[in-house]
Subunit: 425 residues, 2 copies
């Protein structure tokens, strides 16, 4: 019916891509949303899957189901391998070189881990961006305890029970807090050859404070809270080297079998194929209208877009992506309408940000309010629960949390593979 | 404290192994339970994970947490590669050839898929025994729909939307019913290029009726119910060949990209290392006391034990394993006590069996009662919910089911890997 209508292609079904698709509902365009995964992922809770608090499916929802009732939108499971901006087509991963033509393109592909030129670290210190990442981290953490039970070498056991998180942003803070709770609470009485509470959790931050995007007082509070949980926080301590046996920092080596990366992200290889100069961290430089600099009909939103507002780059959070996705979609409509109005400029409206630090503690900035402690934690709980896609997920997660809160158990303590891996690597 | 006590080793943390461990609680023996996975799996609901109804972690519980409060029991995550019955030691998978000595051994290792000599079929037609199997099947089923949306070749699409289940036992019946519901309900409105309800589900059974362990009237009812759901049931129809493009049966070829195996199981390679003659299907022949024939201090329970009662082999169900595990543990104590009483003989007490056929329908034998329809379905629901390990799992599963019942949605429609696989294999 809409075969003659212009075609808007959205790459990525995260917060930005989904909002863009929804903003085009009922408009006289054909919409295709392409993602290499079949699910939208609620990334703010991904650290809970990594630390066995939630099941993978609790925070994921099939993209085509979310958009089932949007008649003008087709969802395609495919990997985009390149963008030919001269011919206005995407190359897909199909062996026969399938292409997808667009009139306007919205790139909402997000970022991936970046190791500041140390690609070899990726193997030793996995990052946390996808469900597969989370399940890999969960497996590493749980296997470390299993191996500690099996070894009789005390030094080896100490290294197995040492966990290092690199990077003191929200993800690093949340991971470190959860790892500490696992050691001191969840694993209690589960082992016969050691006391799990002897486990050590290090959080290394290269800069002078945790949560650099937050007010300084909250950074200090987060550090205090983490230390209260037993986390060893080191500031001004960048990792100098990472190998299979531990981490080298300024003046010492930390022997640790499990190292997690929460320190840096950058654009995926796809963005190089656009043929435009990239901004810092392989991001796409955008105009005020979210058009990629130099490409009239290509927009970029979310983490992948390098957008400056009031002298600072916008942070890589869900709200930036959602607000950007909506504006880019509307701007695409304006662009495709020959008699359309001028494109609008993007302005991010900051609704606040928050990070949780283990059970019952969090820090939050809501408007002009800085919250800490239990109050911030309840705010965090409420906001994340309400934002979760799908009523079912919300109920399930609430149930899991209530259960975990009452019992300290973690319901998803499951290693999804047979124990080949228990033997030394 | 118990270092001088005899050592009972249990291999396998399924229904049989767990019951054996629990039966040894407080006894003057050291107990070690070895499993190659860290979780006990509630196998009767595994088909629901495969068909995206439940999350993997809903039906799995960490073995060491289940046994956390049993002081005389150590849990070891390890793969047992062999049993040296002359020296009374197990060989573990450790690179250094770690061994574990036992005074009495209880084998509760279960069975794995068997392809009647056609090992090549394993690749084309995966079976359903572990969480990894279930996630693999889920991925195949969901990807088939995704590929159908992407192809423009009508014959290819038809083959992608044809699902064949081989084997008409409880697992095959349950899988076929769920696959049919996915096609006719769950996927509704999710695709733009085809109508999911055009998908075809075949159930092939080599023998003359479905559910051969059940009374004949229930077999007939199950067939009728499945056909009511749109499943194409073929009896007396063994698979003659399976390849990447479909299944060959008596007089026809079914072009199908997804074929699932629920037809045969057999003992794992481990049982060959015992050096005793095996029973049919690589199972271990056992005495009335559940001692493996020819091995005084080795017991076998559950699916892996070939035990005849009243002229028939006991079926591979949870109740047989649980009752066997308990008796084998008690018999091990009797054996280890020099002044102990004689070993007791095993007698299985049949509490009933049931199979579910999609939404609101099931067949059940409870004592002398044969139930069908909604009543059997509620019985199935109640029994399985109550039997699920852990209060948390029970609540979560109840919630998922209620939600699915009201909405026909399947909460776990998540493919756990990027879309590399979407391209033709």
């Amino acid at each position: 019916m809409l075969n003659g209508s212009p075609h808007v292609v959205i790459v990525g079904g995260g917060f930005g891509g989904l909002e863009a698709a929804k903003a085009l509902r009922g408009e006289a365009v054909r919409v295709t949303l392409v993602d290499q995964r079949n699910h939208h992922l609620f990334q703010p809770l991904l650290y809970q899957v990594a630390t066995a608090g939630l099941a993978a499916t609790d925070i994921a929802s099939p993209i085509r189901n979310i958009l089932a009732h949007q008649e003008n939108c087709t969802v395609l499971l495919a990997r985009v391998t390149g963008v030919d901006t001269a011919r206005n087509v995407l190359r897909l991963d199909d062996g026969e070189g399938q292409e997808l033509a667009y009139d306007a393109l919205i790139l909402a592909v997000g970022v991936t881990h970046a190791y500041f030129g140390h690609d070899a670290w990726a193997e030793q210190a996995p990052g946390l961006k996808s469900l597969e990442d989370a399940l890999d981290i969960r497996r590493r953490v749980l296997l470390a305890y299993e191996r500690a039970e099996r070894t009789e070498d005390l030094e080896e056991r100490r290294a197995l029970l040492t966990f290092v998180v690199i990077g003191g942003g929200p993800t690093g803070v949340e991971l470190a807090g959860a790892l500490s709770e696992i050691a001191t609470r969840t694993m209690m009485r589960n082992f016969r050859h050691f006391d799990p509470s002897e486990a050590k959790v290090h959080l290394l931050e290269g800069g002078p404070r945790l949560l650099p995007g937050f007010p300084e007082s909250l950074s200090a509070q987060a550090k205090e809270d983490l230390e209260g949980l037993g986390v060893l926080v080191s500031l001004d301590t960048p990792a100098k080297d990472i190998d299979a046996n531990g981490v080298l920092v300024a003046d010492q080596r930390i022997e640790a079998r499990t190292v997690l990366w929460a320190a840096g992200v950058g654009g995926p290889p796809l963005v190089r194929t656009l043929g435009v100069p990239l901004a810092r961290g392989n991001r796409l430089p955008v105009e005020g209208t979210l058009q990629v600099v130099g490409l009239k009909n290509v927009f970029a939103v979310g983490d992948i877009a390098s957008f400056e507002q009031d002298g600072a780059l916008l942070p890589g959070v869900a709200q930036v992506a959602m607000q950007g996705g909506k504006l880019a979609a509307k701007n695409a409509l304006r662009l495709l309408d020959p008699s359309g109005p001028e494109l609008k400029r993007f302005r991010y409206r900051d609704l606040g940000s928050m990070a949780t630090i283990g059970r019952s503690r969090a820090v939050a900035v809501l408007g002009r309010m800085n919250l800490t402690g239990v109050l911030a934690w309840f705010a965090w709980l409420f906001v994340h629960l309400m934002a979760l896609v799908g009523f079912r997920n919300r109920l399930t997660v609430l149930l899991e949390w209530s259960w975990a809160y009452l019992t300290y158990e973690r319901g998803a303590r499951v290693i999804l593979e047979p124990a080949r891996a228990i033997s030394k690597d």
